[in-house]
Symmetry: C2
Subunit: 356 residues, 2 copies
């Protein structure tokens, strides 16, 4: 593998001093980029795009060609693991992801097994290897997975949900069965992320997109322990470097301190909590990643710049900040907003450091 | 007016000692009750039901006939105020509320005026008077309104939204126009709630259902100051009694302390924050209302009882707790779950007091 020329992102995740605040954007390879839409049209469906290592590699690199981003993230879907468990992932036109065979009966739950990442999920590992080769040491590559709780939501609901009625009914009526799903899924996520790391991923991020729909007690019973189990199981070092881990519970601001205590190197923040306050709560125990409201990118460039500076100023001159949005970038984002954002984050964070 | 025989709810809101913890349920008159569905069928549409004082009164009383609840809440829609402003509220089958004429251009925004609550909204005042008469002093009646921010979301988006793109674009591109909408709407909400109080409402609740989609800074610019303006404008006393106010920002747990400081008597909590922790943060500055996850009502009665006890125990023996769900009751709730809940809250809270 080529030597990594820009390791700012990896060092920031380990709270080491960096010359500026690195940034990448959740869902940075996505529909706001015309070149992405072009590749997706060629691929046929979204799933075909995910399952073709060559095309997944192509779209992963697209935002890096346009913008001076400090990391690439594997292009894939968060539901590849349950798909490989046999639930039958599909995308209905104009709707979100759905499963043909959601978990509904006890025998389906008892029969669940963690898939071999080098069998049904080999296409993901091939994409990781191909992207690493294509990046050629320019910036690090992030591997990722959904969290056990978030995957279980989709597996039990059969798709996204407005009220999480099926999984919460399970949680409160048959917690034993839900813990079984979560345990098998956590093992699957560990194997999946470790296979990505062995294939070349240089950091690992776990997306707990639906943790925020739980009560404080239920979050600490059904989501956080399984996030910890995933983090505990990850390969710590590879290619003579630490492989940093990031956990992100959307809507998890109220539980920041317990999330920061599970052993991950960094915690992702959505936009609902001031990042300066978050930093005060976690101190230098973890790095923080975030946290601009992605809707700010609908505003004129000078507003984007002002709001990005506000986030950087709130975090202050300490090491350990990776700039990001608080959620995936919207398909309606004007690409020039991203230019203003990248430019501002790099310039203004150098200025803060020179003054700090 | 008849003397109020059960004022436990009003006294709890004022942090006065009570023999037990009073409870009511957000959306307690709703589709989980077969008798509600029956009345609604008779009414024709949901809006016809809201606009008929006799039928609104009938459904308001239905949950009280079944359960030993400590308050009634006016049956109405949160979008009556913008409807009276001329935006044209309608309900498309199987969808949420929509406006025929959402606010899109600057002149529409500049032309916005607060409606006279005794003109276009007289049907609400008639419902309030009729419900008060029908309650005949059994329990107090809560009046309510949407918050200025939440109403503005619907007025600008034209309906509910998954990303709040229109209103956030306005917030970050033309904050002056958004502040104009919020100012006019706050005045309208004050006049509307005061007319409800003059017609017989004995407490006033402001639902900020969408405050939680904002960043910390934006919440403190676009939602909280207008909640305060509403609370400041409310009639404080009527029929020789204090008229308590409750503000509820769904997803506002991170901002609890600033919400508790605006002068409302009580703050509503969704289920994401442990109510014991919330009580530690606010002390006895405000009463707290909440905060069971409504999904718990899908579980068997013994689980409902155990989870209700958990909320009561977390709050402890202090005065100032009104038990409620953290969000409106789901249409899929089995009515017998509500029986278990009401019974447990009344019995267990007496026990806590006798031990405390």
């Amino acid at each position: 593998m080529s030597r990594l020329r820009n390791d700012t992102f990896l060092r920031a995740l380990l709270r080491e001093p960096t010359d500026y605040t690195p940034l990448w954007l959740m869902r940075q390879a996505g529909r706001y980029l015309p070149e992405y839409c072009e590749t997706r049209r060629r691929a046929g469906s979204f799933l075909d795009l995910c399952k073709s290592p060559a095309l997944a590699c192509e779209v992963t690199l697209q935002p890096l060609a346009r913008y001076d981003l400090d990391a690439a993230i594997l292009f894939s879907d968060i539901l590849t693991v349950p798909d490989a468990m046999g639930l039958g992932l599909y995308f209905a036109e104009g709707e979100g992801p759905r499963f043909e065979r959601p978990l509904r009966s006890e025998w389906e739950i008892r029969n669940l097994t963690a898939p071999d990442p080098h069998a049904e999920l080999q296409y993901v590992m091939d994409a990781v290897s191909e992207i690493r080769r294509a990046l050629d040491g320019s910036v690090p590559l992030i591997g990722f997975s959904g969290s056990p709780w978030t995957l279980a939501c989709y597996m039990v609901e059969g798709g996204s949900s407005s009220d999480y009625r099926q999984i919460k009914t399970l949680a409160y009526s048959r917690p034993d069965l839900l813990h079984h799903i979560l345990g098998v899924t956590a093992d699957a996520v560990v194997a999946y992320l470790n296979a990505q790391i062995e294939s070349g991923a240089q950091a690992a991020m776990v997306f707990d997109s639906w943790g925020g729909v739980l009560s404080e007690a239920a979050y600490h019973e059904f989501s956080l322990p399984y996030l910890k189990r995933v983090v505990d199981g990850l390969i710590r070092e590879r290619e003579d470097r630490r492989v940093p881990s990031i956990v992100f519970t959307k809507g998890g601001g109220l539980w920041l301190e317990s999330i920061a205590a599970i052993g991950a190197d960094a915690v992702g923040l959505d936009w609902t909590m001031d990042i300066g306050r978050a930093r005060t709560l976690v101190g230098d125990r973890v790095a923080l990643q975030g946290n601009l409201d992605p809707s700010i990118l609908f505003a004129p460039p000078e507003v984007v710049a002002a709001e990005a500076r506000r986030v950087l100023d709130a975090y202050g001159p300490h090491p350990g900040h990776v700039f990001n949005l608080g959620h995936g970038i919207s398909q309606f984002t004007p690409p020039e907003s991203v230019s203003a954002l990248v430019e501002t984050v790099h310039t203004h964070s150098r200025k803060i450091r020179s003054q700090g």
